[in-house]
C-alpha cells in the first residue's frame, strides 16, 4: 500500500517510505538525503546523484518545482486524500458546471460570448489585456455559458471568476 500519491505534470506516481532514508517510487527503490538550503532551494540526493531542487510556488500539497531547468506541477495526496478524491470525482461527473478563472491580473478588453451561448473547447471567449499584450482566453471546456462575472473594461485579479460553463 503506497504512503502517498504524487501527480507530476498530471502523471500519477505512487510513493512508499520503506525505511528511514529509503524511498520507493513506482517500485523503484532509492536511498535519499535531503538538505534545505533555504525554503526555496534544496539539495536532494537519490542514490548517487545530487539534484538542486527549487520550490517555485505552492504549499504542502500543490507545488511547482524546478529541477535542472524543468518545471513540474505537482500534487501530493495521502492515502486518505486519494480515496476522498476518487469519491469527489464521481460526484463531480454528475454536476456539469465548470468555472473559468482569470489566469493572471489584467483588464477585460472584450467579451466575445453572451450568457446562453454555446462554446467549444479551445474556442476564444474573451480578450484580457496585461503587460500591454492582448491575450486570448480560450475555453478549457465545451458547454453552454451559464454566467459571466465580469464586464468589458473591468480590472480582474488572478483567480477572479470569469465564466461559468455548464
Amino acid at each position: 500500500m503506497p504512503d502517498y500519491f504524487v501527480d507530476l505534470n498530471k502523471k500519477e506516481k505512487s510513493v512508499r517510505f520503506t525505511a528511514p532514508g529509503e524511498i520507493e517510487i513506482d517500485g523503484r527503490s532509492y536511498h535519499y538525503r535531503i538538505e534545505e538550503i533555504n525554503e526555496n532551494y534544496y539539495l536532494l540526493r537519490l542514490n548517487n546523484r545530487v539534484y538542486k531542487v527549487n520550490k517555485v510556488l505552492g504549499d504542502k500539497s500543490n507545488s511547482l518545482i524546478l529541477i535542472e531547468g524543468k518545471y513540474f506541477e505537482t500534487e501530493v495526496r495521502t492515502n486518505l486524500e486519494q480515496k476522498a478524491r476518487q469519491v469527489l470525482s464521481n460526484v463531480k461527473q454528475k454536476s456539469h458546471h465548470s468555472l473559468i478563472k482569470s489566469p493572471m491580473p489584467g483588464m477585460v478588453l472584450k467579451i466575445k460570448k453572451n450568457a446562453g451561448d454555446e462554446v467549444a473547447q479551445g474556442e476564444s471567449i474573451m480578450i484580457l489585456e496585461a503587460m500591454k499584450m492582448e491575450n486570448d482566453i480560450k475555453s478549457p471546456f465545451s458547454g453552454i455559458i451559464k454566467d459571466i462575472y465580469v464586464d468589458e473594461g473591468s480590472a480582474v485579479e488572478k483567480g477572479a471568476k470569469l465564466f461559468l460553463i455548464g
Binding site: 507530476l8 506516481k13 532514508g21 524511498i23 531542487v53 535542472e68
Partner: protein, 499 residues
C-alpha cells in the same frame, strides 16, 4: 572623461547593463523608477535614483518633462534611453537636446526617417534596398486593408507603424479574419506606442530573421559587427538569438552587411543601430526595419567581436571617433542568448506575476547573465515580463549550445514560473540543432505539443527526483518531529557522489 554622469531613462536588465558600462568608464549613473519599481535592482544598483511617482508607463518612463527635470536636478549630462519606452521617439531626442543634454543614440532626424516603418520603406526603395511587398503608407480603413491584401495575396501581416516586439502585429489568412485583426492591431498599437497607425506586408513563408549590427560615429565612419540570427520567436517576440547565423555564407554576409551600411548611411545615422532583414530559404533577403537603438540581443555580438556596444554608444555620443575600422573587427566563435521570461508555457504563455523569492544565477566559463531582478523583486503586470538574459560563448555553435544547456539547468529562480523549460526543449530540438530553423519553429513544432505533451521526453530519473522531493517534504510536514527523515547529521562530505 566622456561625461560626469548619465541618466538612464529605462528599467530592468537594460538599465543595469548601462549602469555597468558607465561605471567601467568612470561615469556616474542616475536611475529613475516608477512606484512598482521602487525596490527594483536598477534602482539599488545605480549611483543615484529618483522617483517618477506613478504607475503607468505614460506617467513614468514615458514622461519626458519628469525625466528632464530629474536630469537637471541630478546634474546628468547625457541620457541613455535603453530599448523600448522612449528609445525611438524623435521628439524625446529633440527635448533632450533642447534641455542642453546629450542623447546617447542617433539624431532625431535619423530616428524620424527610420522610426516610422513606412517612412523607412520609402527610403529603402529610393536606395535600392530590397524589401517585402507591402503598403508604404499607413492603412486607415479596413476596406483599404482588405483591398490591398487581395492584391498582394494572403496571408498578410498587419504591423504597427511605430512598433516592435510583436505588439500591434497580427497575421491574417483570409478576408474573413481581417476586420477583427485590423482593429485589434490598432488597439494594441495605440496602447503600446501611443500611435494606432498600422501597415500591411506580404507574409513570407518560413523566413529567417537576420539582423546586422552597425556602429557609426558623428564623423561619417561606419562599421558593421556582423549578423545575428533571431528566428526563434513566439508571438513575434524573439526568445533565442545567436551570432553568427548558422546558415550564413561569406557571399550572403557580404551582401547583407553592405545593405545594412547603405541603409545606415541613407539616414545619416550615428551611434549603434540594427538593420533587420527577412531571409527566405534561397537566401534572398528583404529589409524589414531599422532599429535606431540598442537591441535586447546586443550581447551575442559583444561576445563574438569583443566590442562593448554600450561603451561605444557612450563614446560616440561624447563625440569620439570610432577607435577601430572594419578590418579590425574579427568574428570569433559562437554566442547564443536565451531570454528568460516570467510566463506559463502551458497557459498560452500568459505572464506569471509575483515576487521573486530566490534567485541564483548560472556561472561558469563563457557564461554571462544580464539580469534585471534579484530575490525580493516584484514582477508586476505593468511592464514587459523579461527577467534576465543568459548569454554563452563557445568556440563553435555546438559547444555554445552545450554550455547553454548546462547554464539554464543550473539557473534557480522561484516565486514566478519562467520559460526555462521551453528554452531547454528548443536547445534539444532537431530543427534548432540543424540551424535550418525558421521563424515558424515554435508554431510548427512546439505549439502542437501544448499543453503538456512537450514535457513528455523528460527522463525518468528527473521525474523520480521530483516525485521524491515533494513526497519527502509532505511526509516531513506531517511528521515534523521526524526532521526530514534524515536522522543523521549531514556533513559536506555526505554530498559527494560516491563512485
Amino acid at each position: 572623461m566622456y561625461f560626469n554622469k548619465i541618466l538612464i531613462a529605462n528599467r530592468g536588465e537594460i538599465a543595469v547593463r548601462i549602469i555597468r558600462a558607465a561605471r567601467e568608464l568612470g561615469i556616474g549613473s542616475v536611475a529613475v523608477y516608477s512606484d512598482p519599481d521602487k525596490s527594483a535592482l536598477h534602482v539599488k544598483y545605480a549611483d543615484e535614483s529618483y522617483p517618477l511617482n506613478g504607475i503607468s508607463a505614460a506617467d513614468t518612463y514615458l514622461n519626458i518633462p519628469k525625466l528632464l527635470e530629474i536630469a537637471k536636478i541630478s546634474g546628468a549630462e547625457a541620457v541613455h534611453p535603453g530599448y523600448g519606452f522612449l528609445s525611438e521617439r524623435a521628439h524625446f531626442i529633440t527635448a533632450v537636446e533642447d534641455a542642453g543634454l546629450v542623447f546617447i543614440g542617433p539624431s532625431a532626424n535619423s530616428v524620424e526617417m527610420m522610426g516610422s516603418k513606412t517612412g523607412a520603406r520609402q527610403i529603402m526603395k529610393q536606395n535600392g534596398v530590397p524589401f517585402v511587398p507591402g503598403t508604404t503608407e499607413p492603412v486607415e480603413a479596413v476596406e483599404e486593408a482588405t483591398a490591398f491584401a487581395s492584391k498582394i495575396g494572403y496571408p498578410i501581416l498587419i504591423k504597427a507603424s511605430a512598433g516592435g516586439g510583436g505588439k500591434g502585429m497580427k497575421k491574417v489568412y483570409n478576408s474573413d479574419e481581417m476586420e477583427e485583426a485590423f482593429f485589434s492591431a490598432k488597439r494594441e498599437a495605440l496602447s503600446a506606442f501611443g500611435d494606432s497607425a498600422v501597415y500591411i506586408e506580404k507574409f513570407i513563408e518560413n523566413p529567417k530573421h537576420i539582423e546586422v549590427q552597425i556602429l557609426g560615429d558623428k564623423f561619417g565612419n561606419y562599421v558593421h559587427v556582423f549578423e545575428r540570427e533571431c528566428s526563434v520567436q513566439r508571438r513575434h517576440q524573439k526568445i533565442i538569438e545567436e551570432s553568427p547565423s548558422p546558415v550564413m555564407d561569406g557571399n550572403t554576409r557580404k551582401k547583407i552587411t553592405e545593405t545594412a551600411l547603405n541603409a545606415a548611411k541613407a539616414c545619416n545615422y550615428y551611434n549603434a543601430g540594427t538593420i533587420e532583414l527577412l531571409m527566405d530559404e534561397k537566401k534572398n533577403f528583404y529589409f524589414l526595419e531599422m532599429n535606431t537603438r540598442l537591441q535586447v540581443e546586443h550581447p551575442v555580438t559583444e561576445l563574438i567581436s569583443g566590442i562593448d556596444l554600450v561603451k561605444e554608444q557612450i563614446k560616440i555620443a561624447a563625440g569620439e571617433k570610432l577607435s577601430f575600422s572594419q578590418k579590425d573587427i574579427k568574428l570569433s566563435g559562437h554566442a547564443i542568448e536565451c531570454r528568460i521570461y516570467a510566463e506559463d508555457p502551458d497557459n498560452n504563455f500568459l505572464p506569471s506575476t509575483g515576487r521573486i523569492t530566490f534567485h541564483r544565477l548560472p556561472t561558469g566559463p563563457g557564461v554571462r547573465v544580464d539580469e534585471g531582478i534579484e530575490a525580493g523583486s516584484d514582477v508586476t503586470m505593468h511592464y514587459d515580463p523579461m527577467l534576465s538574459k543568459v548569454i554563452v560563448y563557445g568556440s563553435d555553435r555546438h559547444s555554445a549550445i552545450e554550455r547553454m544547456k548546462i547554464a539554464l539547468a543550473s539557473y534557480s529562480i522561484t516565486g514566478v514560473q519562467t520559460n526555462l523549460s521551453v528554452l531547454l526543449w528548443l536547445l534539444n530540438n532537431d530543427s534548432f540543432l540543424s540551424g535550418k530553423y525558421s521563424i515558424n519553429l515554435l508554431d510548427n513544432e512546439f505549439f502542437p505539443l501544448v499543453p503538456g505533451k512537450w514535457k513528455e521526453c523528460i527522463c525518468d530519473e528527473i521525474e523520480d527526483a521530483a516525485t521524491a522531493f515533494v513526497a519527502i517534504l509532505r511526509d516531513h510536514s506531517r511528521n515534523s518531529s521526524n526532521n526530514l527523515r534524515l536522522n543523521e547529521v549531514m556533513t559536506e562530505n555526505n554530498w559527494c557522489n560516491e563512485e
